[in-house]
């Protein structure tokens, strides 16, 4: 039975349609006009317990709005959501006991108090026992290094510390379903690595995770399934490996030759590969369809006939695939 199920979920907002400048503002005072804007458009989504799902899309695609619908913050215009069998909006408080939420761009820490005070308040809100609270704080300290800034005022924390503290706040009650909305936004690489390792551990422990991020490394390292949303609609929903297998059909060999490399001449000599010039005059790339040739065959062919000084292999990243999905070049 799914832990989360959304059916035909839609959210429309009404936005003021003002003309530009002072005249437009005055006109809007007496003659109000509005435009309807569809942020989420008839989405179907089902998540099983223990799944780790990446929810990705370009800016304004409807990711955060979907998270707010799934967490009960927003009421759907149409459609239904059930989280552990409950409507998260009308049964908000009961639902809140079982979910953990982190919005990367908004903190839930009390700004002018030590981090410890915020966590203690949440302990009381969720009714966490003293023993469980201590055990979880110790675990967060071990995995997130929380102890070093527990006594610090929230407003004095670095962004990385703030995000780690916010993550602890979202997980202090050991929720079954966790929503993380851009948890690594603005963080440096070392803090990102630490957070990703923590999230992997969380998934391994059986927590269900829905993660939105623009950082595709977050997605590849933490999630098994990816849902791509664009203009409020789901463009792809499936395992990340399947997305790669389905859309990553080519591989490339990057060659550095001893002399200048002429891509056009090479295309005539090796017409079954696609050739493109590299950054330096001696660099050239041969792209081949992985279903037609094995890498060994291609390497044998090119090294025997071109005797390159050096070579490397590459394949399109998940980022390239998603970029092409956003651009509408690929369809499911």
């Amino acid at each position: 039975m799914p832990i989360l199920e959304a059916r035909s979920l839609s959210k429309r907002f009404r936005r003021p349609d003002k003309g530009s400048g002072f005249k437009g503002a005055l006109k809007h005072l007496v003659q109000r006009k509005y435009k309807n804007f569809t942020a989420v458009d008839a989405i179907d989504l089902s998540i099983e317990p223990g799944e780790s799902v990446a929810y990705v899309g370009p800016n304004g695609a409807g990711k955060s709005t979907t998270v707010k619908l799934l967490t009960g913050i927003l009421q759907p215009t149409e459609g239904t959501v059930r989280v552990m069998g409950r409507d998260p909006h009308t049964e908000r408080i009961a639902n809140a006991h079982d979910i953990g939420v982190l919005f990367g761009q908004r903190t839930q820490l009390w700004w002018d108090l030590p981090v410890e005070e915020s966590l203690k308040l949440l302990k009381h809100m969720y009714g966490v026992s003293e023993a469980d609270y201590k055990a979880r704080i110790e675990r967060f300290d071990e995995l997130l290094g929380l102890g070093e800034f527990m006594p610090a005022l929230a407003r004095t924390l670095s962004l990385g510390q703030r995000m780690r503290a916010d993550l602890a706040c979202a997980l202090i009650h050991d929720p079954k379903m966790v929503y993380l909305d851009e948890p690594t936004i603005g963080l440096d690489i070392s803090v990102k690595d630490r957070l990703r390792a923590f999230l992997r551990q969380l998934v391994d422990d059986g927590t269900t995770l829905l993660l939105t991020s623009h950082d595709l490394a977050d997605i590849e390292e933490v999630c098994e399934r990816i849902v791509v949303i664009d203009e409020g609609r789901i463009a792809y929903d499936g395992p990340i490996e399947q997305l790669k297998a389905h859309y990553i059909t080519t591989k490339a060999v990057n060659l550095i030759l001893d002399g200048p490399a002429d891509a056009e001449a090479l295309a005539e000599k090796f017409p079954h590969y696609e050739w493109s010039a590299g950054e330096a005059s001696s660099e050239v790339t041969a792209t081949y369809e992985s279903s037609r040739f094995t890498t060994a065959e291609v390497l044998g062919d090119l090294t025997a006939q071109l005797a390159p000084r050096d070579l490397s292999l590459s394949e399109p990243s998940i980022e390239d695939v998603i970029r092409r999905l956003y651009a509408g070049e690929l369809t499911k």
Binding site: R92, I93, M125
Partner: protein, 273 residues
């Protein structure tokens, strides 16, 4: 809305206490502002004493002689300190900055949580009210309550200012869901409270129709009610009636706010991250 179906009762009270305490601590975190509010409150009382002594002299105005007016001003100082003690703008900012989204992911009733915070914040001004009142008592020797029972009922009526001030403040911040701004609403609300409560000028000095209008609103209970009980302008039965009216306003504002919240929650439109 099923918001009321919540965690076990013990958890809810523990959460209320924790929210009130954290709100209290937040106020004390800004010690300079806190000390400034004590000083400013005392300064307002001193100005009131000087001005009204000049106006009343040896006679009386609106039924208040100088002895009664000193007591009125002292009660006004205590009630206004409590009434302005809550942080409406903090509640408003949670809505305007979109932090209401985070509040809605927590297993607490939004209104009840804000009430707990409000009371905790307002309690931080109690030292101001008590210290100021004691100092003023020694300095200006105001008259005692007409009877010991009147004194007790005055304290009860003053305690009702906490939930009433929350009710007025909370209803005013609900408007932010529609206006997307709070400054103008706050000015209007503060103006209404100061004018119709009798904090600025005793209601007895206003035209009859304005007094009638005032008593149709909750605001007179912020100063005029405790002062009337203390000075014996109403008998015991009248005092109990006024306290009952305060309780009724608390219930009406609490219930009204619940109804408005049901509509307001549909106006939550937090775009982007």
């Amino acid at each position: 809305m099923a918001d009321a179906i919540a965690a076990p009762r013990g958890h809810r009270f523990a959460a209320d206490r924790a929210l009130a305490l954290i709100s209290f601590k937040r106020r004390l975190a800004y010690k300079t502002t806190w000390l400034f509010s004590i000083t400013f409150g005392g300064w307002q009382l001193l100005v009131g004493i000087v001005v009204w002594e000049h106006i009343i002299g040896a006679g009386s105005v609106g039924g208040y002689d100088w002895d009664a007016m000193r007591a009125y001003l002292l009660i006004g100082f205590v009630t206004s300190t409590i009434a302005w003690g809550g942080a409406d703008w903090q509640m408003a900012n949670r809505i305007l900055d979109g932090l209401v989204a985070i509040d809605m992911t927590k297993p607490v009733d939004f209104q009840r949580a804000r009430a707990a915070e409000y009371v905790g914040g307002a309690a931080s001004v109690l030292p101001t009210a008590v210290l100021g009142a004691v100092a003023a008592w020694f300095l200006f020797d105001p008259q005692l309550p007409v009877t010991p029972l009147a004194g007790v009922l005055t304290v009860v009526s003053i305690l009702f200012i906490f939930p009433m001030a929350f009710g007025v403040g909370y209803l005013s911040i609900m408007l932010c869901f529609w206006t997307r701004r709070y400054l103008g609403i706050q000015w209007a609300k503060d103006g209404f409270v100061a004018f119709f409560s009798g904090m600025m000028v005793p209601l007895a000095l206003m035209p009859g129709w304005l007094q009638v209008l005032s008593w149709c609103l909750p605001f007179p209970h912020f100063t005029t009610t405790p002062a009337a009980i203390y000075l014996g302008r109403v008998d015991t039965l009248g005092a109990l009636g006024l306290i009952a009216a305060e309780a009724a306003w608390v219930v009406v504002m609490w219930g009204g706010a619940r109804l408005i919240w049901r509509r307001a929650i549909k106006k939550v439109t937090i775009h982007g991250g």
